[in-house]
């Protein structure tokens, strides 16, 4: 929870237009595949041991037959004042100078303090070493670690894609721009409900959308300063 130091590094942020989200969960599937997220099976899921980097929350409004369902994709909010960071005794979760809330798997000792302190409950713990039914392990993304038992994990904003995008921009001797980095969920969303980019660049799409009158942040009054901005439904 260090003071944000001024930096010329990109500050990654996401905008989600709730007017567009249909709750199809394609983003959830894309995330699981991109990031080697394990499925734990029905038995463990019943004990609350599922692993999810992104989930779709459902809200029902009104009485039958006049019901309206609202959907809200929720992933790690990459808070600037992240409550998970100061409670980690081994600095396994910390803030990068690019505004990401990072999780270092081989530093994590599995105290689970961070998950307890996360108001968005977006952190998942690996209660055991997961088994991928053959031949699914052949579909592992080689750019992402396969987490082992005893470590915490959560959305990274697809840091492997961020690093690849930054490397490409460096090769071409320019700053990162919109389109260089597209996390798996954003890429997959069929209704284009999600946007991702460098919010420090005022010309980027996320910077423009974040100024919308519809823009809100989840549990903003906690003072966590989330980096995910939701655009509320219009009237």
């Amino acid at each position: 929870m260090s003071e944000t130091t001024p930096t010329n590094k990109p500050q990654w942020a996401m905008v989600i237009d709730l007017d567009r989200c249909t709750g199809c969960e394609a983003c959830v599937v894309a995330c699981n595949v991109e990031n080697n997220v394990a499925t734990v099976g029905a038995e463990e899921a019943a004990k609350g041991r599922t692993i999810n980097w992104i989930r779709i929350e459902r809200y029902f409004e009104g009485e039958y037959p006049d019901v309206r369902v609202k959907f809200r994709p929720v992933m790690c909010q990459h808070c600037e004042e992240a409550p998970c960071e100061p409670v980690c005794p081994v600095y396994a979760t910390y803030h990068t100078d690019e505004g990401l809330n990072a999780q270092v798997y081989n530093r994590c000792v599995g105290t689970r303090y961070c998950a307890n302190n996360c108001p968005y409950t977006v952190r998942s713990f690996n209660f055991f070493d997961h088994v991928w039914d053959a031949p699914l392990q052949k579909a592992w993304n080689p750019e992402v670690s396969v987490r082992s038992r005893g470590v915490m994990e959560k959305c990274t904003f697809c840091v492997q894609r961020i690093k690849a995008g930054e490397a490409k921009a460096k090769d071409e001797n320019r700053d990162v721009k919109d389109g260089d980095v597209t996390p798996a969920c954003v890429q997959t969303c069929p209704t284009k409900a999600m946007y991702f980019g460098n919010i420090a660049d005022p010309t980027s799409e996320v910077a423009k959308l974040s100024k919308s009158s519809r823009a809100t942040k989840l549990l903003e009054d906690l003072g966590t300063k989330p980096k995910v901005i939701y655009l509320n439904e219009g009237e």
């Binding site: 100078d97 798997y105 081989n106 490397a167």
Partner: protein, 172 residues
């Protein structure tokens, strides 16, 4: 009492010897036997040799994450005609005949549990010499691991060159 002391001393000495042997084995450079006894010195440094550059064979070092080991068609480009009387080159020719790649044993690698995502490209682009990280390979008759790639060793260089030491640079 006296006997107890004797046994204690004997066991102590045995443990010390075992530790010393283990330490000596661990500090020995790793030099696995390869399917063909390839000689780096002969190809790079030998005065009347071909004097190849590293990237003649490891041609993707400046283009991708992996430096890559060449396909044996690269070897056969010369060895179709050169030194065909050497038994090692004959082994190579036999591989080529069978259209099979030798199963080279990796010398430098990261433990998969380290979750390290290293890329050669940015390092080559930053003009780090191959020998800085791989030791004096041009003088080696048999390839061996001379440099220990520990995290502290990486960080030290990153600090000196004032490049990022953020965890996400390597671990993700």
């Amino acid at each position: 009492m006296k006997r107890g002391l004797k046994i204690f001393l004997l066991v102590g000495v045995a443990i010390l010897i075992a530790v010393w042997l283990a330490w000596r084995a661990a500090s020995q450079p790793v030099a696995p036997d390869q399917p063909i006894a390839y000689n780096h010195w002969q190809h790079i440094s030998k005065p009347d040799g071909p004097q190849l550059d590293c990237d003649f064979c490891h041609e993707y070092a400046d283009k991708s994450a992996h430096a890559t080991i060449p396909n044996i068609t690269t070897c056969m480009g010369c060895h179709e005609a050169v030194k065909t009387d050497s038994p090692e080159v004959q082994k190579l020719a036999a591989y080529a005949q069978r259209q099979e790649q030798p199963k080279w044993v990796r010398v430098y690698f990261f433990d998969p549990e380290a979750d390290v995502f290293f890329s050669h490209k940015p390092h080559v682009k930053a003009n780090i010499a191959c020998t800085d990280c791989h030791g004096n390979v041009p003088q080696l008759q048999k390839m061996r691991r001379e440099v220990k790639h520990t995290m502290g060793w990486c960080i030290e260089c990153h600090r000196q060159r004032k490049v990022s030491i953020d965890c996400y640079v390597c671990h993700r």
